[in-house]
C-alpha cells in the first residue's frame, strides 16, 4: 500500500510537478511541429538528463512522451501534416473539419478524448500490467505475423477510392521497409550495391518526405487559390450530451489502443489506425461521412494512440521489452540510471513504477489544461499565409531530416520521398498505405520467416499451427473476418441484413 501511494509523489513534489508540466507543454509543441518527432525529443532529453536523478529525468520524459504523441494531432488537423506517425489517422477527418471551419472543435474534441484514452491507458497500466504483459508473452511468431498482416489490411480503409491502388502502394511500402541488410542472414536486399542502403530506409525520413515536403509541394499548386475562411473558435467545451455521446467510442478505442500498445512493435500509429478503422466500421451514423470530417474520425484515433502509451509502458516496465521507439529510449534511460527494466524492476523498486504511473496521470491532467488553453495559438497557424507557412515548414522538414543523425543523406532522401509523395497525391494515390507498409514490412518479414522455421520449415505445419493455440485461433478468425468484411459479398449481405432490420 505504501508503494501504491508513491504514485501521489508527482502531485505534491513541486520539482516533479513542474517538470511534468514543462515536459507536457514542450511535448505538445514539439509533437505539433512536423519534422520534430517525439522519439527524437525523448532521445535528446536522455542526453540532457544524463546526470539528473532518475525520478526528475523520468518525470520530464514521461511529460514529453505524452505531450508529444498528443501534439502531433495539432499539425494533422490544422495543416494535414501529422506531427507524429501516431497522428496520421487523425488527419483523415481532422483536416476536412479544419477546412470546414471546425478547427477549434476538432482541437478541443481531440484534447478531451485524448485525455480519456490516456487515463484508460494509465488505469490499465496500474491495474492490469502483469496480466497484459503475461498475455503478450504468450504470443508466438505466427501471431505477430498475423497481427502485422491485420494492420496491413487497413489499406481498405486508408486508400481513398480504388482499393487496388492502396494494395499496390502498401506492397511497395513493405518492399521499402525490407530494404537493407536482412536481419536474419545479413545479406543485402534491394540495396543496388549501395552501402548507404544497407542500414535501410529511415522511417522518419519517409514520413518527413511523404507528409511534410510533398504537402508543401502539393499546396504550391493552389497557392493563389482562396480557400474557405476558417471559422476560428478559441475554447470549445462540448456540452455534456455531446461528451457522453462519444464516450463509449472513446472507451472502446482506448481499450483497443492499450492492448495494441502493449504488443512490442505495435505502437501508437497502429493503435490509431486500428481505432480509426473500428470507428469507421462500428459507427452507423457518423456526424459526417468518414474522410470528410466525421467527429468520430478524430476522437477514435486520438483516444487510441494516447491509450497506447500506457499499453507500451506495460511490457517495458514489467518485461523489459519496448512497446515502441520511445519506450526503447526509456529502457536506455533506466539502464543509464543503474536500473534493470524487467520483472525485477517492480519487485526491487516498486516506488519507481508508481511514480511513473503518477507522472503519466499528471501529464494527462496537464494535457487537458494546456490542450484546451492553447487552442487559439494553434488555430492561428492556419491563418498564416501559405507564402510564409510553406517555406517555414520546408525549412523545418529539411533541418529535421538533417537532425536525425546529422547527415545530408537523409535530406536527399526527404526530397526524393517528397517528390514521390507529390506525384502520388496528384494521381490520387493515398500515401497512408505506403507508410503503413514501411512500418509493418520488417515485422511481417521476420515474423513470417521465424514462424515458418518454428513450424519445421513446412508450409502445411505453419498453417496448421494456427489451430494449436487459442490466441492464434482468435487472431485467425479476426483475420478472416477482416478479409471477408472488405469483399463485395459481405457489403451486399450487410445491406440485406440492415434492410431487413429496418
Amino acid at each position: 500500500m505504501e508503494n501504491v501511494l508513491s504514485f501521489l509523489i508527482p502531485f505534491y513534489n513541486l520539482e516533479l510537478l513542474l517538470l511534468v508540466a514543462l515536459g507536457t507543454i514542450a511535448g505538445i509543441f514539439i509533437g505539433a511541429i512536423p519534422g520534430l518527432s517525439v522519439t527524437m525529443a525523448v532521445a535528446l532529453l536522455l542526453s540532457l538528463t544524463y546526470t539528473w536523478e532518475v525520478l526528475p529525468a523520468l518525470a520530464l520524459m514521461v511529460g514529453v512522451y505524452i505531450g508529444g504523441v498528443f501534439g502531433g494531432s495539432r499539425a494533422a488537423i490544422l495543416m494535414n501534416m501529422p506531427g507524429s506517425p501516431a497522428s496520421i489517422a487523425t488527419s483523415f477527418d481532422g483536416y476536412p473539419m479544419s477546412q470546414r471551419g471546425e478547427a477549434g472543435i476538432a482541437l478541443s474534441l481531440t484534447t478531451i478524448y485524448s485525455v480519456v484514452g490516456g487515463i484508460i491507458g494509465v488505469i490499465v497500466l496500474a491495474l492490469a500490467a502483469p496480466l497484459v504483459s503475461q498475455m503478450a508473452l504468450l504470443f508466438a511468431q505466427r501471431d505477430y505475423f498475423l497481427i502485422a498482416i491485420l494492420g496491413l489490411l487497413l489499406v481498405g480503409s486508408l486508400s481513398k477510392g480504388m482499393l487496388s491502388k492502396g494494395i499496390f502502394i502498401a506492397g511497395l511500402g513493405v518492399i521499402i521497409g525490407v530494404v537493407g541488410m536482412d536481419p536474419m542472414t545479413g545479406a543485402p536486399r534491394f540495396t543496388f550495391g549501395s552501402l548507404q542502403l544497407m542500414t535501410g530506409v529511415n522511417f522518419v525520413v519517409a514520413v518527413l518526405g511523404l507528409f511534410g515536403l510533398s504537402e508543401v509541394l502539393y499546396q504550391m499548386r493552389e497557392l493563389h487559390k482562396k480557400g474557405n475562411v476558417v471559422n476560428v473558435r478559441g475554447l470549445f467545451i462540448p456540452p455534456i450530451a455531446m461528451f457522453l455521446k462519444f464516450l463509449p467510442l472513446s472507451i472502446r478505442t482506448g481499450v483497443l489502443g492499450v492492448l495494441i500498445g502493449a504488443l512490442p512493435g505495435a505502437g501508437g500509429e497502429i493503435a490509431a489506425l486500428i481505432s480509426y478503422d473500428h470507428a469507421k466500421r462500428s459507427t452507423k451514423n457518423p456526424t459526417h461521412p468518414f474522410g470528410e470530417g466525421a467527429h468520430e474520425g478524430v476522437i477514435a484515433p486520438e483516444s487510441g494512440n494516447n491509450a497506447a502509451i500506457g499499453g507500451a509502458m506495460i511490457p517495458m516496465l514489467t518485461l523489459g521489452i519496448p512497446g515502441d521507439a520511445v519506450t526503447a529510449i526509456f529502457i536506455g534511460a533506466l539502464f543509464i540510471h543503474g536500473l534493470q527494466p524487467g520483472p525485477l524492476l517492480m519487485t526491487n523498486t516498486p516506488d519507481l513504477f508508481w511514480v511513473i504511473v503518477g507522472s503519466s496521470l499528471l501529464a494527462n491532467i496537464f494535457l487537458l489544461i494546456f490542450g484546451l488553453l492553447v487552442v487559439s495559438i494553434f488555430v492561428k497557424v492556419v491563418t498564416i499565409p501559405k507564402q510564409v507557412l510553406l517555406p517555414i515548414v520546408a525549412l523545418i522538414t529539411i533541418v529535421g531530416a538533417f537532425a536525425i543523425n546529422n547527415s545530408m543523406t537523409n535530406v536527399y532522401w526527404v526530397i526524393g520521398f517528397g517528390i514521390v509523395g507529390y506525384f502520388m497525391k496528384v494521381n490520387n494515390f493515398s500515401v497512408g498505405p505506403l507508410v503503413l507498409g514501411i512500418i509493418l514490412g520488417p515485422m511481417i518479414d521476420v515474423s513470417f520467416r521465424r514462424a515458418f522455421m518454428e513450424a519445421g520449415n513446412s508450409l502445411s505445419n505453419f498453417f496448421l499451427s494456427y489451430f494449436t493455440s487459442p490466441i492464434s485461433l482468435v487472431l485467425l478468425v479476426a483475420f478472416l473476418f477482416t478479409v471477408l468484411s472488405q469483399t463485395k459479398a459481405y457489403e451486399t449481405l450487410k445491406g440485406k441484413v440492415l434492410a431487413r432490420k429496418s
Binding site: 491502388k165 511497395l172 545479406a187 536486399r189 515536403l213 517555406p391 536527399y412 494521381n427 520467416r449 520449415n457
Partner: protein, 143 residues
C-alpha cells in the same frame, strides 16, 4: 505500376544468397508481395480503362475534359523544388544561419504577396528562433 511490380519480382528472383522458393529465405516474401502488387496493378489498369471509357462517353455528351494520369510538374512547384534543392546544396557551404535566411527570403520573394520588410522581419526572426531552439536548447549540430 506493372513495371515497378515486375522489376521487384525480377530482383526478388535474382537476389543473391537467397532461394526464392524457400519461404524461410529473404526473397520469398518480397516475391509474393510483388505478385500481389502485379495483380493490383492489372486490376487498377482494367478499372481505369473502364472508368476512362465511361468518362469519354460522358465527355462526348457534356463536352468536358477527361482526367488522365499526370507526371507533369506544376510550374510553381517545379521552380520551388529547384529553390529547395538550391538550399540543400548551399547548406553545407554557408552554414545554417545564412543558408536558411537566403532560403526564406528567396522563397517569400518567389511566392509573392509578402512585402519585403515583412519578409525580412519574418525570415530573421524565424532563423533566430530556430537557431536558439535547435542549437542552444536541443544541442543539435546544425550544418
Amino acid at each position: 505500376m506493372m513495371v515497378v511490380s515486375a522489376v521487384i519480382l525480377y530482383m526478388s528472383i535474382t537476389m543473391k544468397r537467397f532461394d526464392v522458393t524457400d519461404p524461410a529465405g529473404g526473397s520469398f516474401l518480397p516475391a509474393v508481395i510483388s505478385l500481389i502488387m502485379l495483380a493490383a496493378a492489372v486490376t487498377t489498369l482494367i478499372k481505369t480503362w473502364r472508368t476512362a471509357k465511361l468518362e469519354k462517353d460522358a465527355s462526348e455528351v457534356t463536352n468536358t475534359k477527361v482526367n488522365e494520369p499526370s507526371l507533369k510538374l506544376n510550374v510553381t512547384v517545379f521552380y520551388y523544388l529547384l529553390i529547395i534543392i538550391g538550399f540543400v546544396i548551399i547548406l553545407p557551404y554557408l552554414s545554417f544561419i545564412y543558408a536558411a535566411l537566403i532560403f526564406l527570403v528567396g522563397s517569400m520573394l518567389f511566392l509573392k504577396n509578402i512585402s519585403i520588410v515583412k519578409n525580412l522581419i519574418i525570415s530573421i526572426c524565424t532563423v533566430f528562433v530556430f537557431y536558439v531552439i535547435f542549437q542552444q536548447f536541443f544541442n543539435i549540430v546544425l550544418p
